[in-house]
């Protein structure tokens, strides 16, 4: 099912209420120029079988050439959001769209338009970096690629040449994450979902990682990144959303954040009383 096209009359001009995001996405109250969203969550909720509300009426859009950073403590709902986009779990209510395709009704078609990098990515240890890349590229529908294409993809993420034909089991976490990113890149999908990709990396590696993400953004990718790293979010995020207890409690653009202290806002939210109270 394609995403319903919203008319301009739907836009709201009133100031955003960061605690009331249950029905509206940022575009609905923003004056920034509209691009059609590649990633879109509409009224998305997830209640687990044990009754825990993991996600509470999330509305979110990420457009082409945009990096959206989801900040929040562990259990805030960031990974749940990504899992819902990937249709790994079914939503309780609401819908996700990737490039206009409903992930629930047409999950296979929606996955054509998305690449994914997770925090926990050990890959196939007995395969070389190129063999891992080759397998996932073919799964992603890129069957025409040559060995040189794979090398090129690995060069793009600054993977050392000597690592190309090395078994992944000897890789550090940094190298594995870079390889994971090159797997996502070689799919050449318009949307990329990153689930805490820099967790456990040293500052230098995080810096390199950030540069690659900025490059991808410049290529027009819509990037949704779940992260705990508020500094990195501020550095590369075009928009930043803070999640708490399954709710998107705040959303800011890079422009607005020039005048605000994201770290303070984030810590304030983290230290504030539980929402349920």
């Amino acid at each position: 099912m394609r995403c319903p096209i919203r008319s301009d009359t739907d836009k709201k001009s009133s100031a955003p209420d960061p605690f009331d995001n249950s029905k509206r996405s940022y575009y609905e109250y923003s004056d920034m120029p509209r691009k059609s969203p590649i990633l879109k969550a509409v009224d998305l909720s997830k209640r687990h079988e044990d009754g825990t509300l993991a996600l509470d009426h999330l509305n979110l859009e990420v457009s082409s050439g945009e990096v959206y950073c989801l900040l929040g403590a562990n259990g805030a709902g960031k990974t749940t959001t990504i899992n819902l986009f990937l249709n790994f779990i079914p939503p309780t209510t609401g819908t996700c769209y990737i490039n206009g395709v409903d992930t629930r009704t047409d999950p296979l078609e929606s996955k054509k338009h998305v690449a994914y990098v997770s925090e926990k990515i050990l890959l196939y240890g007995n395969f070389t970096a190129r063999q891992n890349l080759d397998f996932f590229a073919k799964l992603g529908g890129r069957k025409e690629l040559t060995k040189e294409d794979y090398y090129q993809a690995m060069r793009r993420v600054s993977l050392q040449e000597k690592a190309f034909e090395q078994k992944v089991k000897y890789f550090s976490k940094e190298l594995r994450q870079k390889l994971g990113l090159s797997i996502a890149m070689i799919k050449d999908a318009p949307a990329i979902l990153l689930d805490e990709p820099t967790a456990g990396l040293d500052p230098n590696a995080i810096g390199e990682f950030s540069e690659i993400i900025v490059e991808l953004k410049q290529e027009g990718k819509a990037i949704l990144m779940a992260t705990l790293d508020v500094f990195r979010a501020k550095e590369i995020g075009d928009r930043i959303g803070i999640m708490k207890e399954g709710r998107l409690v705040m959303e800011r653009t890079r422009e607005i954040l020039q005048y605000e202290n994201l770290i303070k806002i984030y810590l304030d939210y983290m230290r504030s009383e539980p929402l349920s109270v």
Binding site: F88, L122, N126, F127, F136, L139, G140
Partner: protein, 505 residues
């Protein structure tokens, strides 16, 4: 997509230490065990040839028809090096006598020789141990391990349906497990081919091919069990523990427990009861034979000088009265002995029926164990199963009838040469004690100076064992092969069903 997964699975399996170690261990065990088994066959063959030639020699020196009691031997089955089956439980020879119809007998202490034993060293033991473990090791982390590696989520971030991953993994396992089976059987075949003592015909090789196929199927059963377990557990370590339990139950518990239960479900008739029944019949037979003898009027003195030949004794010298008595009574006694052999066979048959019931019950109970099912298939293709042993017994029975028909056809029972080597003219007619005292010793001494000619035996039927044909073996194992295939499909379908709800995160 399935092809992409299959190729990746195959290449990944080949790259793993467990696969390489498994295949090296398999080949090492084959290289170690094959010479032992080939030597064992060589010795069996040598013993068999010796016994057969000794039997032939004894036959060629046969002096009287009454001692025509040749032994027949089940030739050592070269395919037994693949699977010994119940071959060693059962006596491999029969003595052909009038009094008894050949019946399978236990060669050891086993109460029911038809029930298999676990610890027999053969190629099937090597294959079932290594292939089952290897298959489980390849499958145990197929899904839970992918999840732990973080690759499952990555895989399903692509346009891949869940069933395609399972089918790709399954067929990857199918291709991977073909390699140890192929190389294992190839190496065994190579070692057999080099042995001068074994020369398989086309059917022999075809049987080996089918044994390879069954071994592959066994490996696939365990692989699909591993896949299934991997799809219902969250962690690879949990899968491994569960599979260790499944393996032990399948390999050790079920086969032994099924035999134990089968014996309890169909207990043996008390042996004393069977022995008593036999003794009663033998007593009745003795009475009948006595009445035949007593019914004859003996004209003259009965005295003889016995001599021994390998299969019994005979009258080297005997008085006319004795010879006449034997000529008149032997056909009647032979008839009684043949008749009572049938009655004794009935008792053995009842005991055998219990053995068969136990075996069938054990077979039925062990269908839960792919290893037990595999063993039956291997035994059948190796011609070491109950069907083959029963066939040897049947052919021994037919041979006995041929011998009886031959004796009857040649009127051997009433002939002089049935009990003595004397010719008609040589039979001394000594009617009184005085005559015997005076003449018997000189006649005997004179006769003993000459060596009587053995009987003409070239026309006597010879035993040639015709082993169970391929079509019979195939017919007897088709349900087991079908069962193994069913297990593969059952667990594969089970995996497809459970994996639909598998949390891939």
């Amino acid at each position: 997509m399935i092809w992409t997964i299959l190729k990746k699975e195959f290449r990944y399996n080949l790259s793993t230490l467990r696969f390489r170690a498994g295949i090296v261990l398999l080949l090492l065990l084959i290289v170690s065990f094959a010479p032992i088994l080939l030597n064992s066959h060589k010795k069996q063959l040598s013993d068999y040839n010796h016994l057969v030639s000794q039997n032939l020699l004894d036959l060629q020196n046969l002096m009287t028809w009454q001692n025509l009691t040749p032994s027949i031997y089940n030739p050592p089955e070269p395919l037994a090096l693949f699977s010994r089956g119940i071959e060693e439980n059962i006596s491999s020879s029969f003595r052909i006598v009038l009094d008894e119809i050949p019946v399978l007998r236990s060669s050891g202490t086993s109460e029911n020789p038809l029930l298999g034993v676990f610890s027999v060293l053969d190629m099937a033991l090597v294959f079932k141990l290594i292939l089952s473990v290897l298959a489980l090791l390849l499958a145990y982390d197929s899904l839970s391990g992918e999840k732990e590696r973080g690759t499952l989520g990555l895989i399903f971030s692509n346009q891949l349906q869940r069933h395609k991953l399972i089918l790709g993994k399954f067929f990857g396992g199918v291709v991977t497990l073909f390699l140890p089976v192929f190389f294992g059987f190839l190496l065994t075949a190579f070692m057999i081919e080099r042995s001068p003592f074994i020369d398989f015909d086309a059917e022999g090789w075809l049987r080996i091919f089918f044994m390879g196929l069954a071994s592959w199927l066994l490996a696939l059963v365990f692989f699909s069990i591993g896949l299934f377990m991997s799809s219902i557990t969250k962690r690879a370590s949990d899968t491994l523990i569960t599979l260790s339990l499944v393996w032990s139950i399948s390999l050790i518990v079920i086969p032994n427990l099924s035999s134990y239960l089968a014996v309890r479900i169909h207990p043996f008739q008390p042996r004393s009861g069977m022995t008593q029944q036999k003794q009663e019949i033998l007593y009745e037979r003795g009475q009948k034979i006595n009445s035949i003898i007593h019914a004859q009027s003996i004209r003259g003195l009965v005295i003889q000088h016995d001599e021994f030949e390998p299969w019994g004794s005979y009258y080297r010298v005997a008085t006319r009265a004795l010879i006449r008595l034997r000529q008149e009574t032997d056909p009647l006694i032979a008839k009684v002995r043949i008749e009572y052999a049938d009655r004794l066979r009935e008792i053995d048959g009842r005991h055998y029926a219990i053995l068969m019931r136990q075996k069938n019950t054990a077979d039925f109970l062990s269908i839960l164990s792919p290893v037990a099912v595999y063993e039956k298939v291997m035994n059948s293709f190796s011609r070491t199963d109950a069907t083959s042993q029963k066939e040897f017994e049947r052919q021994a029975g037919v041979y006995r009838e041929q011998i009886i028909d031959y004796l009857k056809g040649n009127e051997a029972f009433s002939s002089l040469r049935y009990s003595t080597t004397l010719e008609e003219s040589q039979v001394p007619e000594l009617d009184t004690k005085e005559e015997v005292d005076k003449k018997f010793a000189p006649i005997r001494d004179r006769l003993l100076e000459t060596q009587p000619a053995p009987l003409e035996v070239s026309e006597i039927p010879r035993f040639h064992y015709d082993p169970v044909r391929m079509n019979i073996s195939l017919k007897s194992v088709r349900s087991q092969l079908g069962l193994l295939l069913f297990m593969v499909l059952l667990f594969l379908i089970g995996t497809l069903a459970t994996f639909k709800k598998f949390d891939v995160r």
